[in-house]
């Protein structure tokens, strides 16, 4: 039986605009998301900002009720059996907030241990273990406000684990961390998976999902657009070929002409200060470089790189298609 399961999950936000004549605007943040996470899996929910990742996690952590559809964690319904769900899950989100900065790490952990009903006798050893695990041993009596961002993030993880939940929800845990800190945190997360925890991780870093996750679901505009192992997703674009062209001030018309070329499946434009990077995905074998350069005649061109597709390209392709 899957540990986490959602079925056609939908969440609509209603907002009223206007003062005199109130209009109700309904935004569908999550449009029928169905997924299943097996025990011991590290499942990644990958998508751009605003895709519905956080909404999905908030539904699974019982903070939001779904508008329709259902979700269960360990067999408990998130809407109707919230208390049981809450006992079994840990919720960790990235960023600096979510801790009492005037208190020490130890006080923070003790407080959350209390509210998660960790028996008093077990608290001391449990907290000790956790501090060891996240590498904060020795600094636990200092006030959280003196911690670096990375340390706060690690304390967050410790807090989420304080009641030893079998299921963890990590919402963009490495956001805002420096590369070293992020790498350390990823190591810790991988360790948790090895310890048998079931983890749902949301992120918008493709390499992170690729690195950590057993399976990934790509979500865009509230819908799952692809699901599978990192290898499966990469194979979606395995038949593709990628050409990256550095251009300086390409006109929209020129880019449209490139898009319209036969054999081109997608063109993504990245703005880099003065230059733009055109990432052109095409079918393998189509010798497109000449045609591309012809369509861009008149535009100043820099480097041209021809390469194999990566998971990032698969992601862009999936997300761009919606």
């Amino acid at each position: 039986m899957p540990v986490v399961e959602t079925h056609e999950l939908r969440r609509v936000y209603k907002s009223t605009t206007g003062f005199v004549r109130r209009r109700v605007k309904a935004t569908e943040a999550v449009k029928g998301v169905s997924l299943q996470i097996e025990e011991g899996e590290l499942f990644g929910l990958l998508g751009p900002n605003g895709a519905g990742k956080t909404t999905t996690i908030k539904i699974l952590t019982t903070l939001l009720l779904p508008t329709s559809g259902s979700a269960t964690v360990l067999g408990f319904d998130v809407a109707k059996q919230a208390k049981e769900v809450r006992r079994q899950i840990g919720y960790v989100f990235g960023g600096e907030r979510g801790l009492y900065d005037r208190l020490s790490a130890l006080d923070n952990l003790r407080y959350f241990a209390d509210i998660y009903r960790v028996p008093p006798r077990a608290q001391r050893s449990r907290i000790d273990e956790l501090l060891e695990l996240v590498g904060l041993k020795g600094r636990e009596r200092e006030r959280v406000e003196t911690y670096s961002r990375g340390m706060k993030q690690r304390l967050h993880i410790a807090r989420g684990l304080v009641h030893d939940p079998p299921v963890l929800f990590l919402d963009e845990p490495t956001i805002g961390l420096d590369p070293v800190g992020a790498r350390e945190l990823r190591g810790t997360i991988a360790g948790l998976k090895d310890a048998g925890k079931t983890i749902l991780l949301t992120t918008h870093y493709m390499f992170e999902a690729d690195d950590l996750c057993d399976r990934i679901a790509v979500i865009a505009s509230g819908e799952i657009v692809a699901e599978g192992t990192p290898a499966t997703l990469k194979s979606r674009v395995a038949e593709r070929h990628v050409i990256e062209i550095e251009v300086f001030g390409a006109e929209a018309a020129a880019i449209d002409r490139v898009r319209a070329l036969e054999g081109v499946s997608s063109v993504a434009v990245e703005d880099h200060d003065q230059a733009q990077l055109l990432v052109v995905q095409s079918a393998r074998g189509a010798a497109l470089v000449d045609s591309l350069l012809r369509e861009l005649d008149g535009t100043r061109i820099g480097r041209v790189v021809s390469r194999e597709p990566t998971l990032e390209d698969a992601y862009v392709d999936l997300v761009g298609a919606t």
Partner: protein
């Protein structure tokens, strides 16, 4: 559950004791009211106890800090980013909010200490409660009752944020209606029943009777009864709040 609540109160109290703003309010304002009362009581024709004035000023401040603290408690948690985490925990939200408001009321310990010291040193008011043991018991009873009233206020304000300033402006009327520096007999008859519903009335009475002589036990009892009533009402409001927050996402938890 009791242990959780007690540890929660101690923790929140620790946070508050480190806040200069809250400490200053708790220790300074009762001196303002007490000093005014001392002078007025001394020059007035009715014999009023100065010790009573000290107690009145203390309870006034207890209600003020608790009332303001309660009004901002949820907002403060929201700003810290911990509100979400508290709601996501298996412990009912009321059991997490109550320690906060009780901790604010507990700052009254500082208020009492500073007022009694001020009264003793500058005005020669002796500190000799008639029933010292009951006096010591009355203080936590008053703290509990006022803290729970603060909880009720807090749970109402979560739902009706605009009422915040209105609630704050009721400080003086509540001080009046609970007989802190003014004998209730002076006020119109219809105030009496209202006073019975308000925690500071019983807290003040418990402290006064144990300090000046009388029977504080009924008042202590009423402190407990009103605490329970406030808690029950607050539970209703908070249940409503959590439902609305989850359903409509209307009370941003972040």
């Amino acid at each position: 559950m009791i242990r959780l609540a007690a540890r929660g109160v101690l923790l929140q109290f620790k946070i508050l004791s480190q806040s200069a703003f809250d400490m200053l309010n708790a220790a300074f304002w009762p001196l303002v009211f007490a000093t005014i009362a001392y002078y007025l009581f001394r020059s007035g024709s009715h014999a009023r106890s100065l010790f009573d004035a000290s107690l009145g000023a203390t309870v006034m401040t207890m209600w003020a800090t608790c009332g303001i603290g309660a009004a901002f408690a949820v907002q403060w948690q929201r700003r810290l980013g911990t509100l979400e985490l508290l709601v996501a925990s298996p412990t009912p939200f009321i059991a997490l909010l109550a320690p906060i408001t009780i901790a604010y009321a507990a700052l009254g310990i500082y208020s009492l200490a500073s007022t009694l010291l001020w009264g003793r040193v500058l005005f020669g008011i002796p500190v000799d409660p008639v029933h010292p043991f009951l006096f010591v018991v009355s203080l936590p009873a008053a703290i509990l009752a006022i803290g729970m009233l603060g909880l009720l206020v807090s749970s109402t304000l979560i739902l009706y944020r605009a009422a915040g300033a209105l609630g704050n402006s009721l400080e003086y009327p509540i001080w009046l209606a609970t007989g802190l520096l003014v004998p209730l007999s002076l006020l119109p008859g219809w105030v009496r029943p209202i006073s019975w519903l308000l925690a500071p009335t019983w807290g003040m009475r418990a402290l006064r009777e144990s300090a000046l002589g009388g029977s504080p036990l009924p008042a202590i009892g009423w402190c407990l009864v009103t605490s329970a009533a406030y808690a029950a009402l607050a539970a209703v409001f908070l249940g409503h709040f959590e439902r609305l927050a989850r359903e409509k996402a209307s009370f941003a938890l972040t």
